[in-house]
């Protein structure tokens, strides 16, 4: 008897729960709400790089355009399609952002199903999938892939690391990579190419510091993960043990593992600043351990999200898609409709503040301490570190940036297996 009462209560409760939560009367005749939805990759929030940068772009758009951002964090790969679909079914959502290479198939599928919604993929190649499978629909006008010239930015930090190796007379530079996907080949070969360029620059301009590039100079490891921080620690530790002057983080949150390896050395030797250094990625990560991150290769995912939101708001999204054939390239000196629209740079002191506030936000969100020191202190220590390096190091990097911008040198763009094999033979 008792159990049946339970049952009745439960059934009633379930039935009540089935009444749709969004069936309330809509607000009368307000301006049509504009929402953007950000569907993250499995990493989600808190990586202080790739995914967080996408959310930052959404937050900047909220602030400047009065849009509202909704978030969907993918827990497993099987969530991509349902997450994108959930967002697309919301009548207020006008733009859906899929963050990460692995969402390409899902974006191509869902964008075809919802022709009235706009879709953006970061690092994706959805339009190529459309071209391959449905050539008549290519380019899909409601879908934009945003890709970055990581090879160029990586060349700059590769050169920076190599110049520091010359300055401090160290034998290696290193790179800790995530999962071996073609996007990362762009980073890898760019980095090595920049290192070789720097040795040539030294031979011409600093013969006393010059050394010859060899295929063993850049140490590199693919850890096979974008989330397992201890693997980043292990890979970096081995590199620093060989006396590498700087290790480039190309694995998002694994940078925290690299940082831990640096921190151990710093503590053991009582260092206040590098060498050894590490090099940040995606965001400006220089604040994470001021004095030990020589610079970051910034890939402005936030600017991509911001730009896409702005073009939807201005009603220009589909025009842009048509004009660029579905794929927006953000890099050094890249333009959209004659207007400079960049997305790659080496971090400077000037843009540090923006990212320190990203750390402050993370502190608010998690209630845990994220910033290693006060913002003013961070700034002072990063500045001191930069000033401690000889000026020719920075001017050489600036020179390479100018050469790349002016098209005087070509950084190899590697995206296929035969290419990566060829370049690894040449550069190590």
């Amino acid at each position: 008897m008792k159990s049946r009462l339970w049952l009745v209560a439960l059934v009633t409760a379930f039935v009540m729960l089935l009444i749709p939560p969004y069936a309330q009367t809509p607000a009368p005749a307000a301006a049509k709400p504009f929402k953007i939805a950000v569907v993250s990759d499995v990493g989600g929030r808190g990586d202080l790089s790739f995914n967080d940068m996408a959310f930052k772009g959404g937050e900047d758009a909220e602030r400047d355009f009065g849009v509202r951002m909704v978030e969907l964090v993918s827990k497993v790969e099987a969530d991509y399609v349902p997450n994108l679909t959930t967002a697309a079914r919301d009548p207020d959502v006008q733009l859906i952002v899929g963050v990460g290479f692995l969402l390409s198939d899902a974006l191509a599928q869902v964008a075809r199903k919802f022709p009235n919604k706009n879709f953006v993929g970061i690092d994706t190649f959805s339009q190529f999938i459309v071209k391959d499978k449905f050539p008549a629909q290519y380019p899909l006008l409601n879908l934009m892939d945003i890709v970055y010239e990581e090879h160029k930015g990586s060349a700059l930090v590769g050169a920076l690391g190599t110049l520091l190796a010359a300055q401090y007379n160290k034998p290696f530079i290193g790179g800790v990579f995530g999962i071996e996907i073609p996007v990362l080949w762009k980073f890898e070969i760019g980095y090595k190419w920049g290192a070789r360029w720097a040795t040539e620059w030294l031979a011409k301009n600093k013969p006393d510091k010059a050394f010859k590039y060899n295929t063993g100079f850049v140490l590199w490891t693919y850890t096979g993960t974008f989330s397992d921080i201890p693997k980043g620690y292990a890979a970096a530790k081995a590199m620093y043990a060989k006396d590498a002057v700087a290790v480039y983080n190309i694995a998002g949150p694994l940078g925290l593992g690299i940082n831990q390896a640096v921190q151990e050395i710093a503590r053991a030797r009582g260092l206040k600043t590098g060498p050894p250094f590490w090099i940040g990625v995606d965001a400006n990560q220089d604040w994470i351990n001021p004095g030990f991150i020589i610079a970051s290769m910034m890939k402005r995912v936030d600017k991509g999200v911001y730009f896409a939101t702005k073009s939807v708001k201005d009603g220009k999204f589909r025009g842009v898609v048509k004009q660029i054939n579905g794929t927006l390239v953000l890099g050094l000196g890249t333009k959209v409709a004659g207007e400079l629209t960049e997305g790659i740079s080496v971090s400077t002191l000037a843009d540090l503040n923006e990212f320190v506030s990203m750390g402050q936000n993370a502190e608010k969100l998690t209630g845990k301490k994220v910033l290693p020191a006060s913002p003013a202190d961070i700034r002072a220590r990063v500045k001191a570190m930069r000033d401690a390096q000889p000026p020719w190091v920075w001017s050489a990097v600036a020179e390479l940036e100018k050469l790349i911008r002016d098209g005087k040198v070509q950084v190899p763009f590697v995206f296929t297996k035969p290419d990566i094999e060829k370049w690894r033979k040449e550069l190590g």
Partner: protein
């Protein structure tokens, strides 16, 4: 009034689920969310429309199978937690046949499915033999086999099955080897019918045949089974083999029965943890093949509906996972209690 003919386990489960829901609600109140709104979003998200129901079932499909692996183990007196590794190998087998062997339509799909099941069963052989011959405890051997399977599957996926130009995943299943998608609006494919049929067959086998009876007897009361002349080794092999077939099929369904990738990611990201999740599903489903199907639907609902808690009620994604975890734990308690009691009373 007539009493509703409800089996005791179902009533227990309904009671525990309400305890779990209340616990989750308290957690949400603690973090300043509206639990009623959140639960509504969860339920409507999971069951509110046909496409959502189908999506929920798509998440449930592999879980009912990996649950079966654990359930058949427990029924035969084993603690087989090797579904994870067997499922990886099943995915590899299906990928190989579906992606690289061109076969005529119809036959191709059947061959890819069979290959997945066979690979899964083969991966269950070493721990089964070790247990039957040398008495090696299956928990140890299956955990080790899981890790070996992980690295083996990754190795095979990257070096032999990769799609040229797309290093992140294997060559996709050819169109002839794909289960048809039921509607354009959801990820569910006809693979679910194969999964359901397999669960049903195992149920009929366990409760309708002599060999199935012997298997259950060996699990319930090993001494009585031995006295009755049941061969322990045979039961072990049988229970591992059925479990391996089920786990292999689970892996295969994610390759040839789930859009849009139709392939295995080199990180194994689209199959990873499905085997371990099956243990929870089996416990909730009282280690019964049909109970496992119902529990898998519940897990599928949490997996699919969870995103609506995040989306419509704004609940932080980590908290959604915590709430789902709470519900699962409370649901698993009755069966865990029973298993523990049986262990300690021996």
């Amino acid at each position: 009034m007539k009493r509703l003919p409800l089996p005791r386990p179902l009533i227990e489960s309904l009671v525990t689920i309400s305890i779990g829901l209340v616990a989750g609600a308290l957690l949400m109140l603690l973090f300043d969310y509206n639990p009623v709104q959140a639960y509504r979003a969860l339920f409507v998200g999971a069951f509110g429309s046909l496409e959502d129901i189908l999506e929920t079932l798509a998440f449930a499909t592999p879980l009912m199978l990996t649950a079966l692996t654990f359930a058949v183990g427990v029924r035969g007196g084993l603690f087989n937690i090797g579904a994870e590794g067997q499922m990886y190998l099943g995915a590899i087998g299906a990928t190989f046949v579906a992606g690289l062997l061109p076969l005529p339509p119809g036959l191709h799909l059947a061959a890819a499915t069979a290959a997945g099941m066979l690979f899964g069963a083969l991966w269950a052989v070493p721990p089964a033999l070790l247990k039957a011959w040398r008495g090696v405890h299956e928990v140890i051997s299956t955990i080790m086999c899981n890790w070996i399977a992980f690295y083996l599957a990754t190795y095979l996926a990257i070096n032999f099955l990769a799609e040229p130009g797309r290093a992140e995943r294997t060559a996709p299943a050819l169109v002839t080897a794909r289960y048809p998608v039921l509607t354009e609006d959801a990820s569910l494919t006809a693979a679910i019918f194969v999964a359901l049929a397999f669960c049903l067959v195992v149920y009929l086998y366990l409760w309708g045949t002599r060999a199935g009876y012997e298997l259950r007897l060996a699990g319930e009361n090993p001494d009585a089974a031995r006295y009755a002349g049941v061969k322990g080794g045979k039961v072990i092999l049988l229970s591992f083999a059925i479990g391996g077939l089920a786990a292999g099929l689970a892996g295969a369904t994610q390759i040839i029965g789930r859009p849009p990738a139709w392939s295995l990611y080199a990180t194994l990201g689209n199959v990873i943890t499905l085997g371990f999740d099956g243990i929870g599903v089996a416990l909730v489903g009282r280690n019964h093949p049909i109970g496992g199907v119902l529990a898998a639907v519940l897990f599928g609902a949490l997996a699919h509906g969870g995103r609506f808690m995040e989306y419509h009620a704004g609940v932080l994604s980590e908290l959604v996972r915590a709430i789902n975890g709470l519900i699962v734990i409370t649901l698993a308690v009755p069966e865990l209690w029973m298993l523990a009691r049986r262990r300690f009373s021996r």
